[in-house]
Each structure stands twice: as C-alpha cells, then as structure tokens.
Symmetry: C2
Subunit: 230 residues, 2 copies
DNA sequence: ACAATAGTTCGGCTACGATCAAACTATGAA
DNA sequence: TTCATAGTTTGATCGTAGCCGAACTATTGT
C-alpha cells in the first residue's frame, strides 16, 4: 500500500463553514482569541473549541497561550497560499457566501489581507504601478522592473533585504471586493508596515479594517503616484 | 449583508475522500471517463455520478460527452493550483492517506503531474539543474538564470514563446513520492511534451504513469545533464 | 432487432460530525 | 477568599450527505 498526501483531510477541515470563517478571519495575519473566533464563526465557545482543536492538531493553525487567553493564527505561509488559491477558485466560479465578506464600506475601502494592504486603495495603487511600468507580469509572475527598483529605492524601501527570503518579493493577490489584483508578497507587507509606521493609517483592533486618516491617505497616494524626478 | 467567496463550498467538495481521489486522478491533465473515476475513487458508478455532478456544477471539473462516454477534466489552472497548494499543506503537516498515492514503482519512477513530468526522474533533473545554476530560487520564485537560457536555447527549447502567457515559465512543484521539488510551469510542460515527441517516453493510457524506454531515459538524462560546450 | 456497455435516477439505509447546554478547570481581579 | 471571565469536557440530539442495489435511458456493435 502506497501513501500520498491526504488533501481530503486538509480540505474537509477548511470545508466546514464555521472553520472556514475562522481561517478567513485569521487571514489578516492577526492572532485572535478563541472567543473572537467563536463570534466570527457564529458558533458557541464549546463548538469553537472543538473546531480549533482539529485545526491546530492538523497543523493549519498555531495556538499560543497567554494568561487565560489562547490566541490562534495561521500556522504557515503554505496554509495562507492554499486559502488564497481556494478563494481564487470560488471567486472565478462565482460561489458567494452571505456571511463575513468584506463587511462594510470601510473594509472595502482599505483592509489588511494576511499581512498586506487590500481594498480599493490597494487596488488603485496596483493599477497605477502597472500603468507606469513599476510592476509587470512576466511569465505569469509579478515582477518589479528596473524602473520600479529605482522608484522604490528613491522612496526609501530597502527591497534588497526583502528579496532574500523564501517569500516572493511581489505577488499578485486577487482582491475579494474589487475583483482585481493588489500587491502581496514581502514588498506588499513592507508597504503596509510603512503605512502604519508613518501614521498614515492604523490597523483596527481585532479587525481587518485599516483606517486611513484623510491626510494619511493623501500622503499615501502622493507617495505611490509621484513620478521619479529626472 | 455583504458577500465574499465561499471557500467552504469549494473546500468541502475537495474534502470528501472519493471526490479528492477523482480530482487527484485528473491532476495528470488527462481526461478520464466516469467509470475510470469511479474506479479511482473506489465507489460504484451511481455514487460517482453524484460526485461528478457536484464537481461539474461547482466549476471544478469540466465534462465533455463523446459517444456513450463522458470525459472529465480539471476545469482550469486555478483548480490545479488550489489542489497543489492543498498537497503542499498536507505534505508539510505529514497527513498521508492509504489509498491511491503514487501506485507502484513505475509511477514513482516517472509520472505526469498535471501536465509536466514528476517522479524520481523529474526530481533528479531538477536537482541537477539547481546544482549547475540553470535554475535558482530568487525571492521565493523559481527563475531560469541567464546560463539556463543559453543552455535551453542550445537544446532547442523556444522558451521565449513560453514566456508570454499568464502562466509562469518555471515553478517548483512538490513531488509526492520524492518529497522534493520538480519543475512545473510552461517550461516543465514543454519538456514533457518534448520527451514524448522524441519517443523517449510514452504516457500510458488512462494512467499518470510515464514509461521511459531504457534508451529513452539515457537520452533524456544526457539531454538535461550535458554541460554547455565553451 | 437485439444484446452489451456507459451512465443516470430513485429510494432507503446508515453513519459521521456539527451543535449546544450544563458542568467543570484555570487564570486573573477585587 | 470570593467572584468573574476564558476556555474545555461531556453527553445527547439531530441533519445531512455518502453509499449502494435496482431499475432506467442512451449509445454502440452485431
């Protein structure tokens, strides 16, 4: 008897609506408590405990105990990628669910997706960078052009350091609400981090929403859209 | 009430063992009949009919009627990617299943994976190309180096034409049986096609097994391992 | 026309797993 | 200590979905 990877086990874990909601809630990259996840999933705490135990023991989520809380997060980038791939299939095939999509207007405007910026703001930045030749598709993968490197260098992004991990520097990620790509990968993460560090936007507690101040958003748009001098 | 992609629906379809076996059997890229898939999945024809109807109506499989047969195949590359991502998670987390892995020695040796070559032969080629600097990981993505371009150019692979699709030129794909990467992407597909075209190997009917002739395998190994003159 | 094969529909059986209430343990606060 | 909150365990209930046998339709071959 030979063995292969048991994708049915993994898929069936994600295939239960309550668990899928939990995993999706964690896709922002934030760790959430068991009670938060119970609420997200629309089930009672005992039920949530059961689901979470399965997800952790299967290696999809990681748990960390802190005082009387237990915080959960996505166990690894492979899990995130699998979920994103499932999102892509579901979106293409037109399967929508009623609960827990981008919840409201604020969330559609700007939110975090795993660890990078998503929503209308992010999609617009992406479109602008494609149009001005900072990013391009080559061989199905997203690339930072030479012009893009100059551009980011001039704006103080140390993309050299970002490029050494196993993680792609830039990757296209399908935006749920806008149905167009936005920027993921380590560069995408870096940009969200910078946006928060500069005080242009704040990540809401326990929510995927990212709230830009009026001034912050203007600055951000200027930051990504101002052409290189020379 | 807002809407988002229903990943639970998609995942639960793949999450049923019989259906997962069907989908995995189709990952070779070949179309299989309903009866073939029933056998693959270990269920009776009526049960298979039910599963296939669900998979087709959900947009995961495509069906084509031919005479009194109905042939099924993976509906699109996004589905293939989702399955591959699930394989990666399952493999990393160590979830194995008893049924229907790489079935026998021949299959472990060489088989097709979606549309490219997999198995020991493919993993060895991949390792050789990494070691000799034809391929390299950069920023988490697999790249064909300049040296690799020369190398393939000299061997008559028109990789320029391959590079224009939305599909990546080269991508690492985790090998089930060998637990190391092999080469996927349009280049990987092209190589499998060439291998068959040159008569070095043949794809078995209705099976993922790829059988190399003794002579063919020697030629293939020579083809990929002979260093560039000069 | 007849038989053979591929696939489907129907009906009923069965089992698994999601769910919750209630009782319990563990941590932190007053 | 005592109370409150976070999380877990237990046990029982209940729906759903997978499964098959039998009967049916459709296509091909003789």
């Amino acid at each position: 008897m030979k063995y292969g990877p048991d994708i049915a086990l993994v898929a069936s874990l994600i295939g239960e609506p309550a668990r899928a909601n939990m995993v999706l809630a964690l896709m922002s990259g934030q760790a959430l408590s068991a009670a938060d996840l119970a609420r997200e999933a629309g089930v009672t705490p005992p039920t949530a405990t059961g689901h979470l135990a399965k997800l952790v023991s299967a290696g999809l989520l990681a748990a960390r105990k802190q005082g009387r809380h237990r915080y959960f997060e996505i166990a690894g980038p492979d899990v995130g990628q699998a979920v994103e791939a499932l999102i892509a299939v579901a979106a293409r095939a037109g399967h929508l669910r009623a609960r827990s999509g981008p919840k409201d207007e604020a969330m559609r405007h700007a939110r975090s997706c795993y660890d990078h910026l998503a929503g209308r703001v992010a999609v617009e930045m992406f479109g602008h960078w494609m149009a001005s030749g900072i990013l391009c598709w080559r061989g199905g993968a997203l690339h930072l052009t030479r012009k893009g490197r100059d551009f980011l260098g001039a704006r103080g992004i140390a993309f050299d350091a970002l490029e050494n991990g196993k993680r792609p520097l830039c990757r296209g990620c399908m935006d749920w609400s806008e149905k167009r790509h936005h920027l993921a990968g380590s560069l995408g993460a870096q940009i969200l981090e910078m946006t928060v560090a500069k005080g242009w936007a704040a990540r809401e507690r326990n929510l995927r929403t990212v709230s830009f101040s009026r001034r912050g958003e203007e600055n951000f748009v200027r930051w990504y859209s101002q052409p290189l001098a020379g």
